[in-house]
């Protein structure tokens, strides 16, 4: 980036240090089709970083590649100074990365409570009640529905459950894949507020993949724009919001 002066506070503070998550030259293929054409990306401790892009740009693929499924064919991914490129997915999760995957992927026949228990499965259950209380205050809707099956929740509630489930493992880094997908504007607002709160109050690092460019860039400290498997633009959220290319491609008539 051109100037450190425009960086928001957390990014500025961590600019010199090694990033929490760093992706270098990652290429991912589906069979012979290249999905990521060498992606470089950094997420620093305490930041909200967003990645925007059109359908099929490779955003979700990048998210899944970080989790080792699919595995990248070239490049390295390091987390907290450790190379996690070849690590099995469940071990990556145990390092303190939690994910709310694309399509939510909650367990539909299990109750909300059981879903949350699954979220905490890499932890011993000493902090379980405390964590449960925390996510229930964050999402009061879930508290009312603890005994209800996940599959009977509305889309917004399922999204809340997916995020809450990810939070139950007390992650250092939270990966969110399109949390606003298919949700009413009001619910999107709620969810984005929660993300901001998590970052500001608990200092949680968040990497957010979004189509809802306006909301995502307003929320994020820094952002990346991905087009067909490569990162074409990067900058602070504010810079990208004002960038004419971004405005033309993602914000014209978009969700304001």
């Amino acid at each position: 980036m051109s100037d450190a002066a425009t960086m928001p506070a957390p990014a500025q503070a961590t600019a010199g240090r090694t990033p929490l998550l760093s992706v270098r030259g990652v290429k991912t293929y589906y069979g012979n089709i290249i999905a990521l054409k060498g992606v470089d990306l950094d997420v620093h401790e305490g930041e909200i970083v967003t990645m925007i892009g059109a359908n099929g740009a490779g955003k979700s693929t990048l998210m899944m590649t970080i989790f080792g499924n699919p595995r990248c064919r070239q490049g390295t991914i390091t987390y907290g100074g450790r190379d996690i490129t070849q690590m099995p997915t469940h071990e990556i999760a145990r390092l303190g990365i939690a994910q709310s995957p694309e399509g939510r992927r909650i367990f539909p026949r299990m109750t909300v409570f059981e879903n949350l228990q699954m979220g905490a499965s890499i932890k011993d259950f000493t902090h379980f009640d405390e964590d449960l209380e925390r996510v229930c205050t964050m999402f009061p809707r879930l508290k009312e529905r603890l005994n209800q099956r996940g599959g009977t929740l509305s889309g917004g509630e399922q999204q809340m459950l997916a995020i809450a489930r990810a939070l139950m493992s007390r992650p250092r880094l939270l990966l969110l894949d399109e949390p606003s997908l298919g949700l009413a504007p009001l619910v999107v607002k709620q969810i984005f507020n929660v993300i901001r709160e998590l970052n500001e109050r608990d200092g949680m690092t968040v990497f957010l993949v979004e189509q809802n460019a306006y909301h995502a860039l307003k929320l994020a400290h820094r952002g990346y724009v991905m087009v067909t498997g490569s990162i074409t633009l990067q900058g602070t959220g504010k810079e990208l919001l004002e960038n004419p290319q971004v405005r033309a491609a993602y914000l014209e008539g978009g969700a304001h």
Partner: protein, 467 residues
């Protein structure tokens, strides 16, 4: 509906479901006509002609057009009635489905203790009903058979119902358990009580061996590989004559003892030890309680495991494997434990089978056995312990019932054997189940933990295939 305006006539349910309109009747007639035509087309090759022999032993065709007409008329009438009913249903306002009544819930609550009570007192009941221990032999034997399948069903339920791994070769583990006991006891003379855990361990070991290559498979593909595995075990048992004595099987397997005390009429036999007159039925009753205890252990372990992280991980794995992995679940180990524990109970049941029969041969472990056990699990409702028990009673008990329907001979003539229609009835029952209860007898999943109050959500409200 303007129900509250005084001039509007009150609309009653009877009026809404009343006579079908002309258009509906016409549509139903057309539907029924098409069905009758189809029947006609189908019956020409299979119904219309019968080959007969004349005196010169030459074949000639005997037309049976009356039968064809009857079949077409029957189908026409049935289809017509069905269409009209469907049309009326559609016209009637959708009534909200009545939630499970409290009476039904209560019935469900007492069902488990009732079953348990019947299971525990069954030998006494059978003795009383048939007037003597000797006469109860058939009934106790049937009870043992049913409980064996209950246990196998519960064992397979761990793999199929909880972990969602479709296993068509479960009988392989049953076979491993049976042959383990048969070989260990005949070769080394080890007692049943030593061989039982060993058989379980060996079966669990084979479960893991099966598990490794199929870790990446799911659904249909997994089913095919497990099916093949079941066949491989059976073929090995047939062909490895040196070890297993091939198709002739292993006979004179030591009988079960009362913790070392044999069931015989000798001085230090079970009868004289307890000072009661000797009866060969003592062993039967003991076997009955043995399999009851084994089955209950299977059940208890399953119930416990469901509340532990590993059991929860099995269920989560059934729902969504990718989500599991991203939550830090080691899916490989989770699958292997499901295979191993399911196989272990199959092994226990197998060694019980061997000690009961005193004879094992590969014949007993064919694919049909796997299919029966799997259909017990599917009919019962995947993952439901009570459902599996009910299904086992129905699937194993009903054919026996069929064998005893002698009065049907008076209706259909002496040559009529209702048992021959077993598979037909079985097939019809399966179709009926899939139409009316596609999720099995007990189709709803009981949460492993419930906070403060229960909120039962019908399985039908959860998307099919997703939950």
């Amino acid at each position: 509906m303007a129900l509250n305006t005084p001039h509007a006539p009150a609309i009653t349910a009877a009026e809404v479901t009343a006579p079908a309109t002309g258009a509906q009747i016409a549509a139903a007639l057309r539907e029924a006509g098409i069905a009758a035509l189809l029947t006609l087309g189908l019956s020409i090759p299979i119904l219309a002609f019968k080959t007969e022999q004349d005196q010169a032993n030459a074949l000639y065709l005997q037309p049976r057009w009356g039968m064809v007409a009857a079949a077409c008329a029957l189908i026409f009438a049935l289809r017509f009635a069905l269409c009209l009913r469907a049309a009326r249903r559609a016209a009637a306002p959708a009534r909200p489905k009545a939630p499970a009544s409290p009476a039904l819930q209560k019935l469900f609550g007492i069902a488990v203790p009732l079953f348990l009570g019947v299971a525990v007192t069954y030998p006494m009941l059978a003795t009383l009903a048939s007037g003597g221990l000797g006469g109860a032999r058939y009934w106790i034997d049937l009870g043992i058979l049913i409980l064996t399948y209950v246990m196998l069903g519960w064992g397979l339920n761990i793999v199929v119902g909880l972990a969602g791994l479709l296993d068509l070769g479960y009988v392989a583990f049953y076979a491993v358990g049976a042959y383990s006991y048969a070989l260990l006891s005949t070769t080394f003379g080890w007692s049943f009580w030593l061989c039982l855990p060993l058989a379980g361990i060996l079966a669990a070991f084979w479960g893991i061996i099966l598990g490794f290559p199929v870790l990446r498979l799911r659904g249909d593909y997994l089913a095919i590989v497990t099916l093949a595995f079941g066949e491989i075990i059976r073929l090995v048992l047939i062909n490895w004559v040196d070890l297993t004595n091939g198709g002739a099987g292993i006979s004179s397997i030591p009988r079960v003892t009362f913790f070392g005390v044999p069931f015989d009429s000798s001085e230090d036999g079970f009868a004289s030890l307890f000072g009661i007159p000797f009866s060969p039925m003592h062993r039967m009753v003991f076997l009955y309680y043995l399999i009851l205890v084994l089955a209950l252990i299977t059940n208890l372990v399953t119930i416990r495991l469901r509340r532990l992280p590993v059991g929860r991980a099995w269920e989560a794995l059934r729902e969504d494997e990718i989500a599991c992995r991203s939550l830090g679940i080691n899916t490989r180990n989770t699958k292997l434990t499901a295979f191993a524990i399911g196989a272990m109970f199959g092994g226990f049941a197998g060694s019980f089978f061997a000690v009961r029969q005193g004879f094992v041969s590969p014949e007993s472990f064919n694919f049909l056995e796997s299919a029966i056990i799997l259909s017990i699990v599917v009919l019962g409702g995947m993952g439901s312990q009570v459902g599996v028990a009910i299904a086992a009673v129905l699937m194993v008990g009903a054919p026996e019932l069929l064998r005893n329907l002698d009065f049907l001979k008076q209706v259909f003539g002496a040559g009529f054997d209702p048992n021959e229609y077993r598979l037909l009835i079985f097939g019809l029952a399966m179709v009926a189940m899939m139409v009316w209860r596609p999720r099995g007898l007990v189709g709803h999943r009981e949460p492993s933990i419930v906070l403060t109050e229960r909120k039962a959500i019908a399985g039908s409200l959860v998307k099919e295939g997703h939950g």
